[in-house]
Symmetry: C2
Subunit: 318 residues, 2 copies
Amino acid sequence: MSLQANPVAIVVHGGAGRIERESLTPELERLYHETLERSLRAGHEILRGGGSALDAVEAAIVIMEDAPVFNAGKGSVFTAEGKNELDASIMNGSGLQAGAVGGVTTVKNPIRVARAVMENSKHVFFTNEGAEKFAADNGLELVKPDYFRTDRRWKQFLNWRKQEEARAKPQAATTLEQPEDYFGTVGCVALDAKGNIAAGTSTGGMTGKRFGRIGDSPIIGAGTYADNRTAGISCTGHGEYFIRHAVAHDISARIAYKKESLAKAADDVVKSVLKKAGGNGGVIAIDAEGNVVMEFNTPAMSRGYIDREGKLKTAIFK
Amino acid sequence: MSLQANPVAIVVHGGAGRIERESLTPELERLYHETLERSLRAGHEILRGGGSALDAVEAAIVIMEDAPVFNAGKGSVFTAEGKNELDASIMNGSGLQAGAVGGVTTVKNPIRVARAVMENSKHVFFTNEGAEKFAADNGLELVKPDYFRTDRRWKQFLNWRKQEEARAKPQAATTLEQPEDYFGTVGCVALDAKGNIAAGTSTGGMTGKRFGRIGDSPIIGAGTYADNRTAGISCTGHGEYFIRHAVAHDISARIAYKKESLAKAADDVVKSVLKKAGGNGGVIAIDAEGNVVMEFNTPAMSRGYIDREGKLKTAIFK
């Protein structure tokens, strides 16, 4: 139980999709839970100490980016060309400031660069080599591209490539199908003691992505949104659907304009709108009162929270 | 007066900002009006013939991209490195399909590539070399980067660089200020006889942009949105504000959830929300009844429409 007058809360996700229970080794399952908990505790400690929601979101996401188990930072999946191209975004609910990066290959923690874009530039969205140049200019940690080459993801990539080669290729579109059912994006939303909400999202994208494809994670309004007057939201799932439905902003708009609760807005968007459209995935969110929502239309979403009573919970399946 | 049972309508913009009347030569002013009119007529002819809103939007925007007078396609401004990096997006209001490209340098008509992304891939957003590869694979017209080098924009660039060099540079952020007061992005929204709405936006971005900066134009929900149930919207202005406020989707959401008219929603967002935040620019939009809106908080926005009665109007100043 927190002793603070104003509630603080934090929620994280490590991706949504279909995980076969049998394919989830006990070790991997333990790693998911352990990393989610470590991420939550890091963010929560900042919040309890009177720190900002932005700092909490960044700290929590950095832990998930550095853990090979999630598809973000270190554990990112491979593109069709066998590279790692990372996207991230962050938003501050108090002034609607935002920062994002797309297609970076040499930045250890994309969420830190997204925050630097927000705070050290007048812009929101930097991409590719330009974003890396900005990261270098701002003293952020760079790594060699092979930092991101983990055995697990490389095997997934080789497996994807084998499937691709086996397929007939009548047209380019066919080869662009989602090869996996699990979208391993990570995200965090936090509410600090001053009533400020922040949200962030970070991803390696889709295995086998090409053409400089960017999903919803770095798109403000799609994968990430935060507004103190409504809620902070971070999404994970089949990104194209989240862009078309402007999912993160839509949840915020339903609270603002339809006067829906966060729970109702998230439920309607994820279980009704997205589900009908065929958009698999989920969202995490916190509103100004510290209500926590974790909503998904897939069999699993790795997730967790420390709520305003200080209660910690992590989960993978429904 | 149209003889069709169902109304068709089209609206275009060629950017918003401050134009000093004295700096606008009669020749340039004539060119603005003449190009806007040519663009409107091309789109309207398609609509009158029973063609789709998507075809009308593409045709209208291609004309503006090919005209050196607007900051899109041929007339695009230069980046800090003296290059041209173009962005565009398109959206179909009937199924919320969308396509976008960012940072392309060798594509003659970015709006055509955005449409190809929407129709020939399962994705929404391709960037940089990847997007160019996709354009080539899809048989779209490529040009050498110097196709985009017009004298007028090059002089603007040299002028920008001189100002930059003259300035002290205490930190990177200072050098990233908006060097111009006019945002020359182009856009189009159309309603076809089947009741389908489409919207598209295309831009060369900001003179002196760097770090692979992407503005609102290729961001679905920010610079472009279309939903048959609400409206189609295309934006122009200081892109970062349009991203943070998810302007295009916000107008759609106000119609859907607050039951506001398009006129009221556009007025509130542009004249109140954006104005208060310091976000200069404007929007064009059409709703399902064919109501046309052209709203801006800047001294000028080059714009025009052919409304459901077939009346054509173009304008630059208030």
